[in-house]
């Protein structure tokens, strides 16, 4: 039975940085996923010493601790399934150093992605993993979930950008992992273990990130397809042709309709749209990339090709994709957009087949599902649009999610491309990683012997996310 001494927490971080009213705890019990649970307290540490003091107390009393940024995660990573203390890290939000000479910056975990990129811009550089949620996503959360985004096809994910991290361990010890250099050869890369660990190993209190030069030119193109499978074949050929896009995005018909409804964009409601961006320092490098994209799309029956180097035009072309995730709520008034089967990665050659499979599974289960994503990185996103009041739809969703991940694994794909595992993808993750689950648990035990750091996630997540977790929705049918 978890019991938290609020007075003790107040003594550490100050009364103004503690919440314990049931209403606040309810709010802090959810993220962008379908799950909900109640923590016992929310603490907002101001510095590393306070994080250490909280961890020493929590470890001595075996109280779960869940580090949290802006909670824009979609799979329940910060839902406190066993209660405990939510550590709201957003007040540790200082940019500690920008070092253009050595090509890195040091930041605290609560820095918001967009704020970091605004600060880097005067130096002519940017931090590239930037997910679509960069307006709220914190660097700590991005590292914990190995986030990536539209430009990761060329510049990589958080894992590629993190050089070092400073962490507070479960027992309150503080360690620096990794090095502020581009290469570090020997020993176990412990800093990399933290990336994608979803808060289960240690609390990140500082990160050293590499950045890259902002290209002088960016050119964005768009091509439309009457068949999703044609778009899929085009993706595969673009990526195997030596083309180096800085973005390659797929949007299917359902997503197009939703974006049109939400943003009144007037996009053609075709089966699929591919968005392509190439960047570089000179036009002689960028132009051939765009031409190659056009010719490959045309070969696969793409049409309506247009492109632009102008910022305003690029923004117009990009508009449909930029707000797609929230727009899906407007697809049908009766249906809510749920983050289920929300992401996966498959080999390029399987993109079209995967998109078709998603639609086939959705139709069979009486659900509406969309397919979109950073297809240049093999990343596919879906959402399940469903009547959340209807209990039978949840059973259908559970079956659909399981079938989709079985298919993904059968074609050599993986459960998460960039959104993480949390609660709702744990079953598929455990199936995929069956051989190494015990090894992962051993690593977790070495970091956190009392299992207090975000327990019940990843390899310890539920097998049945519908019956074993509390859903944020209440059914009445």
């Amino acid at each position: 039975m978890v019991s938290v001494n609020i007075e003790k927490l107040k003594a550490i971080v100050g009364e103004q940085n503690i919440l314990s009213d049931p209403a606040d705890l309810y709010i802090y019990g959810s993220d962008s996923s379908v799950h909900q649970a109640m923590p016992h307290a929310v603490a907002r540490p101001q510095n590393t010493e306070q994080v250490q003091a909280i961890m020493r107390y929590a470890n001595s009393e075996k109280i779960p601790v869940i580090p949290r940024g802006s909670a824009s995660v979609m799979c329940g990573q910060v839902v406190p399934v066993y209660g405990g203390i939510i550590l709201d890290m957003r007040d540790m939000n200082r940019i500690l150093e920008i070092n253009p000479e050595d090509g890195y910056c040091r930041v605290e975990p609560g820095v918001v992605d967009d704020d970091l990129n605004r600060a880097l811009k005067p130096y002519g550089v940017f931090y590239p993993p930037t997910p679509a949620s960069s307006v709220v996503a914190t660097i700590g959360g991005e590292i914990a979930n190995n986030a990536s985004g539209t430009r990761s096809v060329k510049y990589g994910a958080a894992r590629d950008a993190v050089l070092a991290v400073k962490v507070v361990m479960a027992n309150g010890d503080c360690f620096s992992l990794g090095a502020n250099t581009r290469v570090a050869a020997s020993g176990y890369p412990l800093e990399k273990l933290l990336i994608g660990s979803e808060g289960t190993l240690a609390i990140i209190v500082e990160a050293t990130l590499r950045f890259v030069p902002i290209p002088k030119l960016r050119c964005m193109g768009i091509a439309k397809f009457n068949l999703l499978s044609d778009a899929g074949h085009a993706i595969s050929e673009i990526m195997s042709s030596g083309c180096q896009p800085s973005m390659l995005e797929l949007i299917d018909r359902i997503a197009i309709v939703a974006a049109n409804k939400a943003e009144k964009l007037g996009l053609p409601e075709v089966d699929a749209i591919l968005l392509f961006e190439a960047d570089g320092m000179v036009k002689e490098v960028v132009d051939p990339e765009v031409q190659k994209f056009q010719s490959i799309c045309e070969k696969h029956n793409g049409f309506g090709f247009e492109y632009s180097y102008e910022e305003k035009e690029r923004a117009r072309i990009w508009a449909g994709r930029s707000k797609l995730f929230p727009s899906l709520s407007k697809y049908d008034e009766r249906l809510a957009s749920t983050s289920l089967a929300d992401d996966m990665a498959v080999p390029f050659s399987k993109m079209a087949e995967t998109a078709d499979k998603i639609h086939e599974v959705a139709d069979r289960h009486g659900l509406v599902m969309t397919a979109y994503g950073h297809c240049g990185a093999g990343c596919m996103h879906t959402k399940i649009l469903m009547d959340t009041d209807d209990e039978s739809q949840w059973e259908a969703a559970k079956a659909a999610v399981a079938e989709i991940y079985d298919f993904v694994q059968s074609v050599g794909g993986t459960t998460s491309a960039e959104h993480g595992i949390g609660l709702s993808k744990a079953a598929a993750f455990k199936k995929e990683k069956a051989e190494t689950l015990e090894l992962m648990r051993a690593i977790k035990k070495a970091f956190d012997p009392n299992n207090i750091l975000n327990p019940g996630k990843l390899m310890d997540g539920p097998d049945d996310w519908v019956s074993e977790t509390q859903l944020r929705y209440q059914t009445s049918k």
């Binding site: 919440l19 009213d21 049931p22 209403a23 606040d24 309810y26 709010i27 802090y28 959810s30 993220d31 962008s32 909900q36 907002r44 802006s70 909670a71 824009s72 709201d88 957003r90 007040d91 967009d114 605004r118 949620s133 307006v135 709220v136 939400a262 943003e263 707000k323 995730f325 929230p326 727009s327 899906l328 709520s329 407007k330 008034e333 009766r334 809510a336 957009s337 983050s339 959340t388 009041d389 944020r472 929705y473 209440q474």
Partner: protein, 318 residues
């Protein structure tokens, strides 16, 4: 047994909220406290809790719901299409009917100070104030926290307790911090920007981080009409070379602040002139919402003007 019917009809809308958190950046109250519970997303979650019985109505819950500046930026920015203000309004009505009469950001009248002159009743654009039972009563469902009434009360008997950074004393503190910080050697001016008009647009213009200029500080005020003469004089006294106030165009101003601030600054600048201070150091300009370009141009031109005038007083004299 409390009547939840007013909330029941919004269940589907509350399900539509995907809890992405993109509304955070639009909310002054969240930005002031940095707690999720004060964000639009947090409040929608709270309402879902009330509806599902997982959260019980309490004065604390009601206070959260009545804390809002009605700028509607969250609703306009929500591409999930949740009609946030409509949901809030019904939730507030439900809480009020259930007996939770809390002020939040609405205006309060000190009945002992009130002379029943009815100036506040006449000035309220939202018909939120009325005379009944020998006193001035406030309809909290109609009050939009614009502060019109504070401005016209001759007895200085009206307050908005929760300012979230926008009350005169909070603005004064922000000004003092800006000019008092030894690192801000180039600090020259303060720009007051309307929280219903131009400020939200500036906040979200991702490539214009206008409030981070070392020469001037942009401060949000709920309605430019709430920038008092005292606030302007305090700002000059803190070390500002000049004060720029950006209000909404007259036709767009729903709270009467445009006319009030213009009239006030006219009187103030005449007084300044009489004591030998150039009236151009205090200026009101109309900046329509979303026109970050006009804001930039007006600010640039104002900064050039006050630089040509030089400092109002030597730094050591303050």
């Amino acid at each position: 047994m409390t009547n939840l019917e007013k909330l029941e009809k919004w269940k589907s809308a509350l399900n539509k909220c995907i809890r992405c958190g993109y509304c955070y950046e639009h909310c002054q109250i969240y930005k002031s406290t940095r707690w999720d519970s004060d964000s639009p997303r947090g409040k929608l979650i709270l309402l879902y809790g009330l509806l599902s019985g997982q959260v019980q109505p309490t004065p604390y819950v009601a206070e959260k719901l009545f804390e809002c500046f009605h700028c509607n930026r969250c609703q306009k920015a929500c591409s999930s299409g949740v009609p946030i203000q409509d949901v809030y309004n019904d939730a507030r009505a439900f809480l009020q009917e259930a007996g939770y009469d809390v002020p939040g950001t609405t205006s309060l009248t000190d009945q002992d100070a009130c002379a029943l002159c009815l100036a506040c009743v006449r000035s309220c654009k939202h018909e939120a104030r009325h005379y009944a039972n020998d006193r001035i009563e406030v309809d909290r469902l109609k009050c939009q926290s614009c502060g019109n009434c504070l401005d016209v009360c001759p007895a200085i008997g009206i307050t908005i307790e929760q300012g979230f950074g926008t009350n005169p004393e909070e603005l004064k503190r922000a000004v003092t911090d800006f000019f008092g910080n030894p690192a801000n050697t180039g600090a020259k001016a303060v720009v007051f920007s309307c929280g219903w008009g131009n400020y939200p647009g500036l906040q979200t213009a991702r490539y214009y981080k206008l409030d981070e200029n070392p020469e001037y500080k942009v401060l949000m005020t709920i309605c430019a009409g709430r920038v008092t003469s005292k606030t302007v004089l305090d700002t000059l006294d803190a070390g500002a070379w000049g004060v720029l106030i950006c209000c909404c165009p007259e036709d767009d101003c729903e709270h009467g602040g445009n006319a009030r601030v213009k009239a006030r600054v006219k009187i103030l600048t005449e007084s300044l002139k009489n004591i030998g201070i150039d009236p151009n150091r205090v200026k009101v300009v109309e900046v329509p919402p979303k026109e970050a370009g006009k804001f930039t141009a007006e600010t640039k031109s104002f900064m050039e003007e006050i630089k040509s005038l030089g400092p109002l007083m030597a730094r050591s004299a303050r």
